[in-house]
Subunit: 220 residues, 2 copies
């Protein structure tokens, strides 16, 4: 009970996926609790009063918020299996830089791709393509963002892959054709049990977003 790990999350959150993948990588058993985002639980509001957002990791009754911080926490508390951050300080700084880049640059465009139409969606599309171009170039010919080993930046970005099809369909553009290296990287990540277990089916994400656009936003 004292070692209890609980995750408050929502199935299609690419941020929650990071924490789930990290827990799987470490072989940590945890209780998954799906939140209703339109009616957040009292526990979520109590555990993350500042941002009131999922994912919230609760370990021994204490909350850890923000997915990249959770992943680093998991790596520090369970250091033995599959290190997530490199041991070299410079490589660690680089991993943190690119995770931070992903957080800073995707939030705006990904929200707009999902919720907007017309010009706003077009702008978001261009911004998102720019992010993909930068990440494609950073990946280069490496197997993973950190080199030969799956790590923090891979965990930070792989969840977005399960949304690519949704972005492509709702905003009518092609990611797959433009970035074959990123797609090959995603397929390499998916060979890991942790990623395969956590990533939802792309069609399920698409259906939920299509339903949301149609029923809540009243757009197609």
């Amino acid at each position: 009970m004292a070692e209890e790990v609980i995750l408050l999350d929502y199935w299609s959150s690419m941020f929650g996926m990071r924490t789930r993948i990290a827990l799987e990588e470490k072989g940590v058993k945890y209780e998954y609790r799906e939140e209703d985002l339109s009616n957040k639980s009292p526990l979520l509001l109590e555990m993350n009063p500042i941002h009131m957002k999922i994912p919230v990791l609760i370990h021994k009754g204490k909350p850890i918020c923000e997915s990249i911080i959770q992943v680093q926490y998991i790596d520090e508390v369970w250091p033995d299996a599959n290190p997530i951050l490199p041991s070299d300080p410079y490589q660690r700084a680089q991993a943190r830089f690119w995770s931070d880049y992903i957080d800073k640059k995707t939030a705006g465009p990904c929200k707009a791709l999902q919720r907007e139409t017309g010009e706003k969606q077009e702008t978001a599309k261009m911004e998102f393509m720019e992010v993909l171009k930068t990440l494609d170039s950073e990946l280069g010919d490496k197997s993973f963002f950190g080199g030969n080993v799956f790590g923090l930046v891979d965990i930070a970005f792989i969840g977005f892959y399960s949304w690519f099809r949704t972005y492509e369909v709702v905003a009518n553009f092609s990611i797959v054709a433009e970035f074959p290296k990123l797609i090959a990287w995603a397929e390499r990540c998916l060979k890991r049990e942790s990623v395969a277990k956590v990533l939802p089916d792309s069609d399920k994400v698409l259906k939920s977003v299509s339903d949301y656009r149609k029923n809540i936003l009243g757009i197609n």
Copy 2:
């Protein structure tokens, strides 16, 4: 030469102040290079091609970008003197959470306080007061954000203190009267040699911002 540490920075940047304080805390000798932000150096653009922003820390010829990442890097490379992050993983996660909170919540309002007038500035004022209220409550009766020891969150926020007078004057409100605990905390921080050495004079910041508003933006 191989151990050379260079910092590309701008004197009134509260982000650059973080890195300078961390270097002072560790007793690391470094070469400070002031950037002209309206005409950035080729070295800055080469070392931070993604964000093209100061501060950039260059260690052994390699760049580390983003101030909170730089502070963590400095703590990891020079671990002996004055630890900046706590050793306990949960406390480390909390320190990262609050540093991240400061970065997420101050960027918008602080830019608007400095550059806007009227309604936009009023909104920024309310948002900034909300941040201060949250930080005041998180500080509570502790000496520093992490407890008894000066650390990451103190380093993340103390630079803003040198801007308080500027915000008060250009946006016509009072911070000092509303948050005595935060002011007492800032004064405690200023007793540290690192902070006292790095923080610029509040009147100098105010003059530079007043000049910028008058000469560049054409507002008072």
